[in-house]
Amino acid sequence: MLHRMVLPALTAIALAVSGCGASTGGKDSGGGGIAGAANGSGAAGDGVLKIGLLSTLDGPFAALGQAANDGAKLALLDAGAQRSGTGYRDGMTGLTIGGQKVELVVESSDATPDVALAAARRLVEKDGVDILVGPLGGDEGLAVKGYAKQHPEVTFVNGTSAAQNTTLRDPAANFFRFTTDGTQWMAGLGAYTVNTLHYKRVVTVAEDYSFPYDQVGGFMTPFCGAGGHVPKKVWVPLGTKDFSSFISSIPKDIDALYVALGGTDALNFVKQLDESSLKGTPIVGGSITVDGAVINGLGKRADGIVSAGPVAALDTVQYRDYAAKLKATFPQAGPPGLFDIGYYIEMTALLKALTEVKGKVDDGHKALNAALAKLTLDTPIGPVRLDQNRQAIANNYLFQVRDGQSALIQTIPDVNQTLGLDRAAFVAQPANDRDHPSCP
């Protein structure tokens, strides 16, 4: 059965990347900086439970942040809240949990860690939120995790930030992530490339920062393990639009190219590739590479492109319900995608845990955090539970473009953060980077 792959919402992506992970930001011991006091007195103090929503409504990923806010607000609408306005920055009120009023306050960053941190500080220290949901980008997530350590009295629930190290190494006790990371998003792809497609020599092309490092790492670890070789990795600087000279540097004796660029950039890249002597080289895609725009833009050329990611148009009640609700509530939103579903899941998880503890956070969030840690969810994209580091274990999906549609070809169930490997051994490996992993 054919399924549409669900990334078209990303049509939009300016720089490849977007929302997602990071692995090797400096050694993060957490904390640091000047901690202002949280302004949140919690429900006990002012009778209002404030939830802060942090995404990227500014800068190159503004379109992704808009999708994210739609997803988060949909979860609140589900629970009975009302929107204060139709703008992306408008908050929400009208929800009551266990007799406590619940309010949503919205803040935005431009995808840089600095601005995300400043926005988190505004939410916690100025608006006095009790719980912060976000951020969207991986490097932002690393910065916010550090901040979370300074504020154990506030609960942090991730947005779609997918940096591996936000939870894998040196996690924060009050930071919860109900979505999988950039490496988990590649589960299944590397082995499939070698064993089924029989591509043995692959060159990777990705932007030069941490989310693509995690994606390339997640692809290469099993790919190299199955006997594949990556003779060269091309890291293009952030925001590259003209790939022609980079394409000239790719060796000619390869079976395929692994491309982890965002939608529009991937489209430009393949177009420029086909204007070179590497014309027609097969493509294997990252989690945000193959979207509706790419499939439309490439036409026949798109057929056969294989990719992997956490969001699939499943034939389940939950997915169909979600898609219908999204379309009904936000007519201008695209089909379900990574960012709206990600924020929807995180917010839903939070509201479920809040309901379990009847909105009580005056015990220093102890009950809430415990409820979050052992929460299980049946989401539009499959079941989710958390591991010991409060990191999601969830399904991952493999897709292939067939007849102008991205079809689900394989489900990899219950992918954990260590990809099924021994945790100690996995953590001991060098973090994903320009040079790691390597199998030339």
Partner: protein, 351 residues
């Protein structure tokens, strides 16, 4: 030309009524001290930390720019690059390499000052808009360096988890202590820069701003004078960089990108580029503006851009210039027998 905008007007203003100036100045100083001492106890935690403390270190970077514009006629867009350099070296040495944080900060400042010296050498021959462009190019180069040179800077993620050291028995990570520490450094920077401007070197710098040919004719090297001035300003900017890293606990290329460069320029212009103290006022206005306007409108960037254009158009002396202009016209209106004005500033409506 830069000097049109800045030369001498501030001095003339204070010289106009020499018998009044000291008293007004004392009163102003007392008010500032009282406010500075009261702020920690009368403001909310957010305003205190995110607006007051943040504007203190931001102002140091802006003050280095104001100093250059005011006393040397150099509009440097490389100041963010210099403060970022100090910040990165401090962050890397302390958080990654585990060096003593004070040593790390010292080395950070030294490296940035050395860099300021080199940048000064490269760009000192250029003047006016040439200088703006050159320093902008240098600033952008440093941004890309931070973005690409992962072995040291860790690319886009930057360096997280930089801890604030203790000053002897005093933990600076406490906001109140950090405030006093930053305030003390701000005052030191202010006094230092003013002292420099009144020293023979500083006077030579101002002479160079007004007429480089005469400075040459006097047998001085304009290059040397400008390089030293640029390096001194770089030192202040780098101290601001160390404070910013301690304040944020992290640094990433976003800390020195073109937006941040523009922000520093906005702070300087808001504060007026007449007096160095303006930088602190400008920074306070700017941080407050960004913290609160973003809640009011979705187009707050446009608001900031328009406010900025308006300030440049209406009052070359920034927001304080607006106040003094208003005060002066009030004074004129009240004192009907006021003497004819001799030192009018080109304020809006007086052209």
């Amino acid at each position: 030309m830069a000097s049109d905008m800045t030369a001498g007007r501030g001095d003339q203003a204070t010289l106009r009524r020499p018998w009044r100036a000291p008293r007004a100045r004392t009163v102003a100083a007392v008010i500032v001290v009282v406010i500075a001492a009261a702020i920690p106890y009368v403001t909310s935690s957010f305003v205190f930390v995110q607006i007051v403390i943040q504007s203190l270190w931001m102002a140091m970077v802006a003050a280095s720019l104001v100093f250059l514009v005011r006393f040397a006629g150099m509009v440097s867009l490389a100041q963010t690059g210099l403060y970022g350099t100090a910040g990165y070296v401090t962050a890397n040495l302390s958080a990654i390499r585990g060096l003593n944080p004070w040593a790390a900060a010292g080395i950070g400042v030294l490296v940035a000052v050395a860099l300021a010296f080199v940048v000064g050498m490269i760009s000192s021959r250029a003047r006016g808009v040439y200088f703006i462009m050159l320093t902008l190019a240098v600033g952008v180069f440093l941004y890309y360096f931070a973005l690409q040179y992962r072995p040291f800077t860790f690319g886009f993620s930057g360096i997280n988890g930089v801890r604030v050291p203790d000053l002897g028995p005093v933990p600076l990570s406490d906001p109140l202590n950090f405030y006093w520490f930053t305030l003390a450094l701000s005052v030191a920077a202010l006094v230092g820069l003013y002292t420099f401007s009144r020293s023979p070197l500083g006077l030579a710098l101002q002479a160079d701003r007004d007429c480089p040919e005469r400075v040459e004719a006097l047998g001085m090297s304009t290059t040397a004078v400008r390089v030293i001035g640029f390096t001194a300003a770089g030192a202040v900017a780098s101290v601001g960089g160390v404070l910013s890293v301690w304040f944020n606990g992290q640094i990433s290329p976003g800390s020195l990108d073109i937006t941040r460069t523009v922000n520093i320029l906005v702070v300087a212009v808001l504060g007026g580029v007449i007096r160095l103290e303006g930088a602190w006022l400008g920074a306070l206005l700017f941080t407050a503006l960004t913290a609160y306007v973003s809640n009011i409108t979705n187009y707050y960037n446009s608001v900031i851009g328009l406010v900025y254009i308006a300030v440049v158009l209406v009052s070359p002396n920034g927001v304080p210039g607006l106040f003094t202009a208003t005060a002066r016209s009030l004074q004129r209106a009240l004192l009907s027998s006021a003497p004819p004005r001799t030192t009018a500033r080109p304020v809006n409506g007086e052209k």
